[in-house]
């Protein structure tokens, strides 16, 4: 079951909880479950019905651009990170 790491800046919403273990198929489900547990966290991670454009999701060591559709499945870890440009 993957562990979702709560970004340090959102720990005020989780009462200091920094990791949550949950079953989820994709990032959309991860955020829905987080928001049920910690109301308001969805608004900090999403713009409307999409992952915030300033964020990307890291699942284990992968960082992709599939947003809320990113598969989580049997991954070990999920992180929310800033988007990175490159030169």
């Amino acid at each position: 079951m993957p562990i979702v790491f709560i970004p340090a800046q959102l720990k005020s919403l989780t009462g200091g909880v920094s990791q949550v273990e949950m079953e989820a198929d994709n990032v959309r489900q991860v955020i829905e479950q987080l928001d049920q547990q910690f109301p308001g966290i969805r608004d900090r991670l999403c713009d409307g019905d999409e992952l915030a454009r300033t964020l990307q999701v890291s699942v284990d060591s992968s960082m992709g651009a599939r947003g809320l559709r990113t598969k989580v499945g049997d991954a070990r870890e999920v992180h929310f990170l800033p988007v990175i440009g490159g030169g």
Binding site: F5, Q9, L45, S62, A65, H79, L81, V83, G86, G87
Partner: protein
């Protein structure tokens, strides 16, 4: 996905580049070479003030000038929504993008575009531009990051509120973003430390310094299609940005990426494309604008200057146990994107159990900053690597050994959270230890040796290629990645390897946005990795097709066909790729394959550099005596190109370290907007950059490829600072370490 550094026919060889002859003979087509019937020349009028309100613009006299066909200003551009768009690599607020292309209401930096003219030639265009009357209300300005963060700083954007990961402050501010990362328990970490070093650092705003200025040609045709030829790192992102700024359908725009004379991150954002497009629409003629060098310096995006405070604690045996960083980066006129990677990279080379990083992205009256190779990473390496060096000095530990002791490796968690897969920093440091450079003593007065490590993520993103087989058995490879560093060849080599043919049996071509599937920018050290992966997949598809066709031809089951090192083998017949291609051309369908990929991974590149310097205490001049760049390339597809990237990054980093900076005068305008005064290194300033390629296969690529373009710019300023410290026993905490600053620092020490 399999990985390995096996024995290859093509990979690891050094064929000449496909585009080499055209480039050395001058026949390669750059945007400035494009000629169209009736082509006009454009000129952009730029703000003389760093911060001012535009009360009015009167273009009537300019428009009446003979030979002038169109004049535009901010009012000619459509209003763009205040929304963030995904541009593939990074995202951008479209209203900021539009406002940077042409000022509306306010100018935010000297050089900000305020109007543009299209005329029969540049002389008429410039003369007409001089007749444009602009009434400015000059406003107070700010160009230093800490000043811009102050409560009483002049505000650039009245509607900008500091964002703390989705939560915004109530009071407007120049600080666009605050980021915060933490790992472990920082108090526990520092409590366990036997030695703690804390320093403050400053780095100057620097420019990528690509040799080709920005150029755009636009032809808004009577059919309604907008055709653009430009120097860009990404034809598809140029298409999207142009369409967004002009509020037209993306399908109405076709962008042809011409040959490009360098980019390094500076040719991703659009500047001229929407301007030439509107001038073309208004004049009914195609229009070209070529920037001057001053226009490039003052009107395009340099990379951020910074203020940084870094504190690291270690136990007496040299184990780093706690790290704290406070980083403020110069975003320029609009919110930027470099602070995130700065935060994520500051401790990325070391296994530090407890860490906290705060980062601030700060607007000020400078050009909007952009990427420069590994954006945001060079600054923090300059800070972190010097603090690590000082800890080694205080503990009496070898500076290589302290890095080996603490080096990031597979399984280590970064401060931003993710855990590294297989990476090659340890191998790079081992290569340092085994290198002739490290083993050779450095003797002489005022001489010192420094080392430093650096990291860049590397990314996958989206790439597309198509491959069609010619009846002589060669393959036309069509791709969407502009070739900046030899990637036509490095991608062709991967297709050739799959197919068992020679590099020059693949004919690669970079095409326009109508002619290939969507492809993200040439940036993020991604092209040889991701577009190469697409070529690999297309090659496998061709093999599958040909194996099936061979079964028909040889009247056997497809299961009986095997492909070994490019050779198709049936029960009693075999043929090379070329032989079979020629045979299959006689009847049946043409052989065409395509592949699109979007690999969800980082390629995790590490570099370690060794610098030997001599410092002249009389003048403060630092001479690089010897320099070696060591880097994990995963698999060096074309070692010469990898070495070229390592050398190019190192030289750019040397310039950043020793001379380059935007000089802002008391009026907050740039005083050195030319290559005469903006001092980039020349051949006379650097020795031969020796290279050592380390190959630790990337598990996410079939050939083990990692990105190589960005890591080599990360270590140089830190390595040189460490070398200067060895040479002089004086540490320098500010970039550039130019002769006046070094001389002053040495004078104060003595």
């Amino acid at each position: 996905m399999s990985s390995g550094n096996g024995n290859y026919r093509v990979l690891g060889t050094r064929p000449r580049r496909h585009d080499g002859a055209e480039k050395v003979t001058g026949s390669a087509i750059y945007a400035n070479d494009v000629q169209l019937p009736g082509l006009l020349t454009g000129f952009v009028l730029r703000s003389p003030h760093p911060h001012a309100r535009i009360r009015s613009i009167d273009t009537s006299e300019a428009e009446a000038t003979e030979g002038v066909f169109a004049v535009i200003s901010g009012k000619d551009f459509p209003e763009v929504a205040d929304k963030v768009a995904d541009l593939g690599e990074g995202s951008v607020n479209l209203s900021y993008l539009s406002g940077n292309v042409m000022a509306k209401g306010k100018v935010l930096y000297k050089g900000h575009a305020v109007a543009a003219v299209a005329a029969v030639n540049i002389h008429v265009a410039e003369e007409a531009a001089s007749k444009i009357k602009i009434d400015y209300e000059v406003l107070p300005s700010v160009t230093w990051v800490l000043d811009a963060m102050a409560d009483d700083a002049p505000l650039l954007h009245e509607n900008l509120f500091t964002d703390h990961m989705g939560e915004k402050d109530e009071k407007p501010s120049n600080t666009a973003v605050h980021m915060h990362f933490e790992k472990g328990n920082i108090e526990e970490g520092f409590a366990a430390a036997d030695v703690i070093v804390e320093r403050e650092f400053k780095t100057a705003t620097v420019h990528q310094g690509y040799i080709e200025p920005h150029v755009s040609v636009a032809d808004w045709t009577t059919s309604g299609r907008l055709k653009i030829w430009t120097a860009t790192q990404g034809a598809f992102t140029a298409r999207q940005q142009t369409a967004e700024v002009l509020q037209i359908p993306i399908s109405d725009v076709v962008v042809t990426p011409c040959e490009i004379g360098g980019g390094f991150g500076g040719k991703i954002a659009v500047y001229l494309e929407p301007v030439t497009a509107l001038l073309s629409k208004k004049s009914g003629r195609p229009v070209r604008i070529s920037m001057t060098r001053a226009g490039v310096f003052e009107g395009t995006g340099p990379t951020p200057g910074s203020f940084m405070r870094v504190k690291i604690g270690a136990t007496s045996d040299g184990k780093l146990v706690a790290g704290e960083a406070w980083l403020a980066y110069d975003a320029g006129a609009y919110p930027g994107g470099m602070i995130g990677p700065g935060c994520m990279c500051v401790f990325s080379c070391y296994d530090i159990e407890h860490a906290v990083v705060d980062g601030y992205d700060v607007c000020m009256n400078k050009p909007h900053t952009q990427a420069y190779r590994a954006p945001g990473a060079t600054q923090v390496a300059f800070a972190c690597e010097q603090v690590v060096d000082e800890i080694a000095e205080q503990l009496g530990i070898c500076k290589l050994e302290i890095r080996q002791l603490n080096a990031a490796k597979e399984g280590m968690r970064r401060v931003d959270g993710p855990v590294y897969p297989r990476i090659g920093l340890v191998e790079c440091l081992d290569a340092v230890a085994q290198s002739d450079h490290w083993k050779s003593p450095l003797e002489g007065e005022n001489r010192g040796r420094g080392i430093a490590a650096g990291f860049w993520f590397g990314c996958g993103l989206k790439s597309s290629v198509s491959a069609s087989v010619n009846h002589d058995g060669t393959v036309n490879l069509t791709e969407g990645s502009p070739d900046i560093g030899g990637t036509r060849t490095s991608i062709a080599m991967q297709l050739a390897e799959v197919l068992g043919i020679d590099t020059f049996d693949v004919i690669p071509q970079v095409v326009d946005t109508d002619s290939v599937g969507y492809t993200d920018v040439t940036g993020g050290s991604r092209v040889t990795f991701a577009t190469g992966l697409a070529a690999y997949e297309a090659g496998l598809d061709l093999q599958r097709q040909m194996a099936g066709r061979a079964a028909d031809l040889w009247e056997c089951s497809a299961d009986d066909i095997s492909v070994v090192e490019g050779e198709f083998k049936g029960p009693d017949k075999s043929a090379s790729f070329k032989e079979l291609a020629q045979e299959l051309f006689k009847d049946g369908e043409p052989l065409v394959a395509r592949a699109s990929v979007a690999p969800d991974c980082s390629t995790n590149g590490f570099a370690v550099h060794i610098a030997d310097v001599e410092v002249d205490p009389e003048t403060g001049k630092v001479t690089i005596l010897r320099y070696t760049a060591i880097q994990d390339a995963g698999k060096a597809i074309h070692p010469s190109y990898v070495e070229g990237q390592m050398q190019g990054g190192a030289v750019q980093g040397i310039g950043w370290a020793l001379n380059e900076e935007y000089f802002f005068n008391d009026n907050d305008t740039m005083d050195n907007a030319s290559f005469l005064d903006y001092r980039m290194p020349t051949m006379l300033d650097v020795p031969m950059i020796d290279t050592i390629i380390v190959e630790v296969a990337n598990p996410d690529h079939p050939y083990g490829v990692r990105g190589v373009g960005e890591p080599p710019i990360v270590p140089p300023p830190a390595a040189i600072a460490n070398a200067i410290s060895e040479a002089t026993t004086t540490r320098f905490f500010e970039l550039p370490m130019s002769p006046p600053k070094v001389w002053k620092g040495l004078s104060e020490t003595s």
